[in-house]
């Protein structure tokens, strides 16, 4: 790999732009493809560009054969995101665990005493009201949203916004009873059963989690399950 290719790749990633590194396996020749890359059709045939688009969509690298040459398409999508509402104790574990798992994490909490760099070293903090912050952060199909404040004043506006987004996971802290009341409030403002069923609540897989760290593990596990689905066949 040429240093200039690596530099370009790292700079695209810094700018959160999806791109594909195409390597001709026969001799190692490489081209960095993106929608904005301005490659000539002779240098980079359209059929290869389509394969790149498809690989980005599937978020999976693959090989492609063209004119007796094998190409490897290495997908570089921007990182998946996790938007956490509530700078609570669980978040102090969930945020760094999610960073370790490759998520770009943003913590949303307008309460200044909770959302401090001291409690969340290295995690970007957004101190706006949750719905305002979410509108600006524009969650997409590669985004997970988790509400953890346990306070309807903060959680509800976030959930209302999240339910109108394409986020792949939406989890809300609270017991079944708390969630029942939450569903009633959401129904009262027009959300149907199909909407509220999207909310994972009580949040996290049932692994008997007790401590904040264990609850964070159960949430991250449930997010992973939503993203990939189960693999092992049950007998």
């Amino acid at each position: 790999m040429k240093l200039s290719t690596l530099d370009n790749l790292l700079s695209e990633k810094e700018r959160k732009l999806p791109c594909v590194l195409v390597t001709r396996l026969g001799d190692g020749h490489q081209v960095l493809w993106s929608e904005y890359a301005n490659l000539s059709k002779t240098e980079f045939p359209e059929i290869l560009a389509d394969a790149c688009r498809d690989a980005l969509l599937k978020d999976k690298g693959c090989q492609f054969e063209l004119a007796d040459e094998r190409y490897f398409l290495q997908v570089h999508n921007p990182p998946k995101r996790l938007l956490i509402v509530g700078a609570v104790h669980i978040s102090q574990f969930l945020a760094p665990m999610a960073v370790m798992s490759g998520y770009g994490v943003t913590l949303i909490d307008p309460r200044g005493a909770w959302a401090t760099q001291e409690r969340f070293p290295g995690i970007p903090l957004d101190k706006r009201w949750p719905d305002e912050a979410l509108a600006d952060l524009a969650p997409d199909a590669r985004t997970a949203i988790v509400t953890l404040t346990h306070d309807p004043k903060l959680d509800d506006p976030a959930l209302e916004f999240a339910l109108r987004s394409e986020c792949f996971y939406l989890g809300a802290l609270g017991s079944r009873k708390t969630h029942g009341k939450r569903v009633e409030r959401l129904a009262a403002i027009g959300f149907g059963e199909a909407d509220t069923r999207r909310i994972a609540a009580p949040v996290g897989l049932d692994i008997g989690a007790i401590s904040p760290a264990e609850i964070a593990v159960s949430i991250l596990a449930e997010m992973t399950l939503s993203l990939h689905g189960p693999r092992r066949k049950t007998i």
């Binding site: 040429k2 390597t23 570089h76 990182p79 370790m100 770009g104």
Partner: protein, 115 residues
């Protein structure tokens, strides 16, 4: 977002940034990428391992079964400059030494970083 002071967990970003950092320090560097898998391979296509001339490495291309062999090849490729496509699997002649315990097969592309 990954912060600058985060430890090198071997996330995709970390691995490539480490390659650039080592190269900037004047080290020879090679990049290994899983380009194909069959069966129950431990790491998916696209997984990467970066090695420097001191045999230090970050990332992974398997569950630890073939990293040693890949590092050895990488050291050669750093010098020769010739990229190589390596295959590992149960049918491999070296299977006893560097085969995949899981019974999967993988293909790893190894290239050096160069000006």
């Amino acid at each position: 977002m990954m912060t600058e002071n985060a430890p090198p967990f071997g996330l995709e970003e970390d691995v490539l940034k480490q390659a650039a950092r080592w190269f900037g320090d004047g080290k020879k560097v090679a990049i290994a990428t899983v380009v194909k898998t069959w069966g129950s391979s431990p790491r998916p296509v696209g997984s990467q391992l970066v090695v420097n001339e001191d045999s230090s490495f970050v990332g992974s291309v398997s569950g630890g079964c073939i990293e040693g062999a890949v590092v050895t090849e990488a050291l050669d490729i750093m010098t020769s400059g010739m990229p190589k496509l390596l295959s590992f699997g149960v049918s491999d002649a070296m299977a006893w030494e560097v085969g995949l315990a899981c019974g999967g097969e993988i293909e790893v592309f190894v290239e050096r970083l160069e000006i």
